[in-house]
C-alpha cells in the first residue's frame, strides 16, 4: 500500500518534531519551509530558560529525528491550498504542486513589532532595544554596549510589551516574556556584574517548573531588582540615556529613573505566515487572532477543516517544552485521522 502523504507547513521546532514522529510512524512527510534552514525562532536564541542550556542543543536533538526521514523543501512559500474530496493540492511559490492526505499547520508566531508602542521609543531612541535584539548580541558573542559604545551601568527590562495591552489589540499574556526577562537579566549580571538591573513588571508569571527558582536566583545570587509597575513612557536625555516613568505600585508612588539601556520584552503575535495560510484554507481564528482549535481542552490540534491540524505556537504562545509536547500530540492526532479515526470521531 502506498504511504499516506502529509505536508507540514513551517519548519520551526513544532514542524520538526511532529514530522519526525509522523515519519517514524511510516508516513510520507514533507516540510515546506520559507527559510533556508530548519529551526525557526530557536535559531536566534542562544540560551534557553530556565536552565540556560544552548538552543542549538535542542535543535541538534530535533534534527536527529528529521534527518533522512523527512523531505524538506527550503526557501519556499505556499501560494494556494485546495481541497478536493479528501486530498489537498498545495501550490508553492515556484509553481510546483504537492499532494497531501493531511496538512499540519506549524506556522508559529512573529514577535510583536515594538515600534507600535511609540511611547517606549523603539527605533526612535538608540538605547532602546528588544529582548530579541539583546539575545542576538548573546548569540553573536557581542559585548553589551550603549549606542555610543559605553558599558551600561543601569539596564531596565520592560515586561508585557505588546502583551496584555488592549491599546495594541493584544489582550493575552505571551507567557514566556517574564521568565525570558529574568533569564536575560541574569545573563547581563553574569557579563556585567557592576551593572544595576531592573525589571518592570505587572505580574511575575513564573508558572513553569524551575521558573520560580530562576526568579529567586536572580534576586539572591545576582541582585536583580524588581519593580511592580508598568511604564507609561520612556524618553531620551541629552546624553542618549533613557528616562522612564512608572508607578512603583508597591511603594504607592510615581517613580522616575535614568537608564543606559532599556530592553523591551516583546510578546507573541500570530505570524504573517499563519495569516496567509489561514486565509488560503479558511482556518478559523479565536479572539486573540491565533488559530482556533476545535476544543480548548481536548481537540487541541484539530482545526475547523477536516484533514488540517495544528501544532505549536500558531494556536497560542507556547514555551519550547510545550511546543515539542504539542508537536508530538499533533503527530498522533494526524496519524489517527489517516487511520480512519478510531479516536477522532469522539465528540465534545
Amino acid at each position: 500500500m502506498e504511504k499516506k502523504k502529509i505536508v507540514v507547513i513551517g519548519g520551526g521546532i513544532a514542524g520538526m518534531e511532529s514530522s519526525s514522529f509522523l515519519a517514524a510512524m511510516d508516513f510520507d512527510v514533507t516540510i515546506i519551509e520559507k527559510a533556508d534552514k530548519l529551526g525557526g525562532h530557536v535559531r536566534n536564541w542562544e540560551r534557553l530558560f530556565p536552565t540556560m542550556r544552548l538552543g542549538a542543543e535542542v535543535l541538534d536533538f530535533l534534527n536527529q529525528g528529521v534527518e533522512g526521514r523527512v523531505k524538506i523543501v527550503y526557501n519556499t512559500e505556499i501560494t494556494d491550498i485546495k481541497k478536493k474530496k479528501d486530498v489537498f493540492a498545495i501550490t508553492t511559490g515556484d509553481g510546483k504542486n504537492i499532494e497531501a492526505d493531511a496538512v499540519l499547520v506549524t506556522t508559529g508566531y512573529d514577535l510583536f513589532d515594538a515600534r507600535k508602542k511609540e511611547e517606549y521609543g523603539y527605533k526612535i531612541y538608540d538605547n532602546v532595544i528588544t529582548s530579541s535584539d539583546l539575545e542576538m548580541l548573546f548569540t553573536e558573542g557581542k559585548k553589551i554596549l550603549t549606542a555610543d559604545g559605553k558599558t551600561p551601568k543601569r539596564i531596565g527590562f520592560v515586561h508585557c510589551v505588546g502583551s496584555r495591552d488592549e491599546k495594541v489589540g493584544n489582550a493575552y499574556c505571551s507567557k514566556v516574556c517574564c521568565v525570558t526577562a529574568v533569564k536575560q537579566a541574569v545573563e547581563i549580571k553574569d557579563r556585567l556584574p557592576e551593572a544595576e538591573v531592573f525589571c518592570f513588571y505587572m505580574d511575575m508569571r513564573m508558572f513553569g517548573m524551575h521558573f520560580e527558582f530562576l526568579y529567586k536566583e536572580a534576586q539572591e545570587k545576582y541582585g536583580v531588582n524588581f519593580i511592580r509597575g508598568r511604564l507609561s513612557e520612556a524618553s531620551e536625555n541629552m546624553d542618549g540615556s533613557i528616562v522612564v516613568k512608572v508607578e512603583d505600585t508597591l511603594a504607592g508612588k510615581p517613580l522616575r529613573m535614568n537608564l543606559d539601556l532599556l530592553v523591551l520584552m516583546v510578546g507573541f503575535v500570530p505570524s504573517e505566515g499563519s495569516n496567509k495560510v489561514g486565509k488560503m484554507i479558511g482556518l478559523k481564528t479565536g479572539p486573540n487572532k491565533f488559530f482556533k482549535t476545535q476544543d480548548q481542552h481536548t481537540l487541541t490540534n484539530v482545526s475547523n477543516i477536516e484533514g488540517v491540524f495544528f501544532a505549536g505556537a500558531c494556536t497560542s504562545p507556547k514555551t519550547i517544552t510545550e511546543t515539542i509536547t504539542d508537536a508530538r500530540a499533533a503527530a498522533v492526532t494526524v496519524a489517527d485521522y489517516l487511520h480512519d479515526q478510531p479516536l477522532g470521531r469522539r465528540t465534545i
Binding site: C160, R164, E233, E247, T249
Partner: protein, 109 residues
C-alpha cells in the same frame, strides 16, 4: 477619669464587614470598566496631577473598592481631568469617566 498617659490606637485594618461599598457600586454602574483594572499603575505614572500632588488614581480606585472612602472627596478633587491616563491604560478602563462617576457619587452622599 484619671489619665494614666495611655491611649488606644485606632484599628488600621480594612474592615470589610463594616465598610460601605456604596461609592464602588455607584461607579460600577456608571462606568463598568471600573471593574477591570489590574493595578499596573500606568495611569499614575503618566498622571499630570500626581507629579505635583500626592494624587494616586490607582490607589483611589482600590480604596473605593475596599470601602475605605473617608478621603475620597478630597482625593478626587485633585484630578484635572486631562485624560492622559485614559490614553495609557492597557485594559481600556475609561478612567476619565470613572473619575466623573466618583465625583457624582461623593456629591450624592
Amino acid at each position: 477619669m484619671i489619665n494614666f498617659g495611655y491611649s488606644l490606637s485606632n484599628d488600621r485594618q480594612i474592615d470589610f464587614d463594616k465598610n460601605d461599598l456604596k461609592i464602588a457600586r455607584f461607579v460600577n454602574q456608571g462606568e463598568p470598566t471600573f471593574k477591570i483594572c489590574i493595578a499596573c499603575g500606568t495611569c499614575t505614572a503618566t498622571c499630570s496631577a500626581g507629579q505635583f500632588t500626592d494624587f494616586n488614581f490607582r490607589k483611589l480606585m482600590i480604596m473605593i473598592k475596599r470601602g475605605e472612602d473617608h478621603k475620597v472627596k478630597e482625593e478626587v478633587s485633585k484630578c484635572m481631568l486631562c485624560g492622559k491616563c485614559t490614553l495609557a491604560c492597557p485594559r481600556n478602563v475609561n478612567t476619565r469617566n470613572v473619575i466623573i462617576n466618583i465625583k457624582k457619587a461623593v456629591n450624592l452622599k
